[in-house]
């Protein structure tokens, strides 16, 4: 889209203010959500604790389906935070976008490929780290030539396609959703009241669908992260 972003160069690094601010807002929202749900932890759970435990059970289910032998419990926290962070990030831009003087400051952080690539990188780095930790570096390298050696180039290529598909799937879905929201918004403004009235239900429908897509993509991202990690931790 034609959004303009403010950039800050600091210590030779380039910061996109919109990305960072949105990610920060999403992280704070996740923390507020989880913090407020975990105030009274008791043996007999209250409403808030039930919600929190339901979410934990949900992400634990994702982890367990990727690690059927139950060895994935150390990734439960990662899956939980990842899922909530991506979910809140996806919904953030649907709820509000802040533009000041034509510069976007708050939006869905996942509408930017850099953000999704960072998250995918975290997942894949975890996968490689735990693979090396489990097998040792030699076996980790030889795992690329499994099950048969001529698959080596395909396995190497797969690492990159995994990274790209994991990050760009999330980015594409959320970005397309917001592009379409913006398009419907411009349609609403194009012919005055008539188009406005027509566009409102369409916008509502697409917003609801985007909430759905955001949830699905958060689920898909978390599931695939866990699958990649578990695949790196077994000999094929």
């Amino acid at each position: 889209m034609d959004d303009k972003y403010k950039f800050i160069d600091f210590l030779g690094l380039r910061f996109n203010v919109a990305n960072d601010l949105s990610a920060l807002v999403a992280a704070i929202l996740v923390f507020i959500l989880v913090f407020s749900l975990s105030r009274k932890i008791t043996m007999k759970p209250g409403k808030a604790q039930n919600v929190l435990e339901w979410m934990i059970d949900f992400t634990d289910g994702i982890v367990k389906s990727a690690f059927p032998d139950g060895s994935g419990s150390r990734f439960s926290l990662y899956a939980f935070v990842l899922f909530l962070f991506i979910f809140v990030s996806n919904q953030l831009g649907l709820i509000f976008q802040i533009k000041v003087d034509g510069f976007t400051y708050i939006k869905s952080p996942t509408t930017n490929p850099i953000v999704t690539m960072s998250l995918a990188l975290v997942s894949l780095m975890l996968a490689h780290y735990y693979s090396v930790k489990k097998f040792g570096f030699g076996t980790y390298l030889s795992n690329y030539a499994r099950p048969v050696s001529f698959l080596l180039p395909i396995n190497l290529l797969e690492e990159f396609t995994n990274f790209l598909t994991l990050s760009l799937r999330l980015y594409g879905n959320i970005f397309a959703g917001e592009v379409l929201l913006a398009l419907i918004g411009t349609v609403a403004k194009s012919f005055g009241l008539v188009s406005f009235v027509i566009a409102i239900p369409v916008e509502m429908i697409w917003q609801g669908f985007s909430v759905f897509i955001g949830a699905i993509q958060a689920y898909v991202f978390t599931t695939l992260s866990m699958v990649y990690i578990s695949r790196k931790m077994e000999k094929e």
Binding site: N16, L24, F31, M43, L52, V115, L119, V122
Partner: protein, 173 residues
Amino acid sequence: MASLLVLGAGKLALGDMLFILISFILLSLAVKHYAWGPVTKMMDARSEKISGDLDYADQERARADKLSKEREEALKNSRAEAIEIVNKAKDNGDSQKKAIVADAHSEAENVRTKAKQDAEKAKQDAMQDAQDDIANLSLEIASKVISKELNADDQKSLIDSYIKELTVNNETK
């Protein structure tokens, strides 16, 4: 997207990556400290408690089963015992009754026979007395009548024989 990656004036948006990474790690730590840790701990404690409670319930049920079985057994035993006691008492009573009745019978028999014997004896005594009296009387009469000194003993035996005939005749009559 390509512009985002390339157009950073020759700079990759590494800052964003770092920022996301750091904020994600901080978020994870905060979530772990404030929510994940306590909640998962409580969930583990709860599952432990539930399994413990289930085990305890199983044990208690087994114990209750055992107790009720024992009680039933004891009840059955006590019923059998009670029946036995009642039967015994009945038997005892019966035998005692029989013994008492038999005793009473035999005593009554004894009394009767004794009474009979007594009566017989009395009768015989009376008869004897009467015989003696009659003998003496008739002796006296005879001595007076015949005035002949008779041996008293001969006389007596003679009279006895008369009297016997007499009584025999009387009885046949």
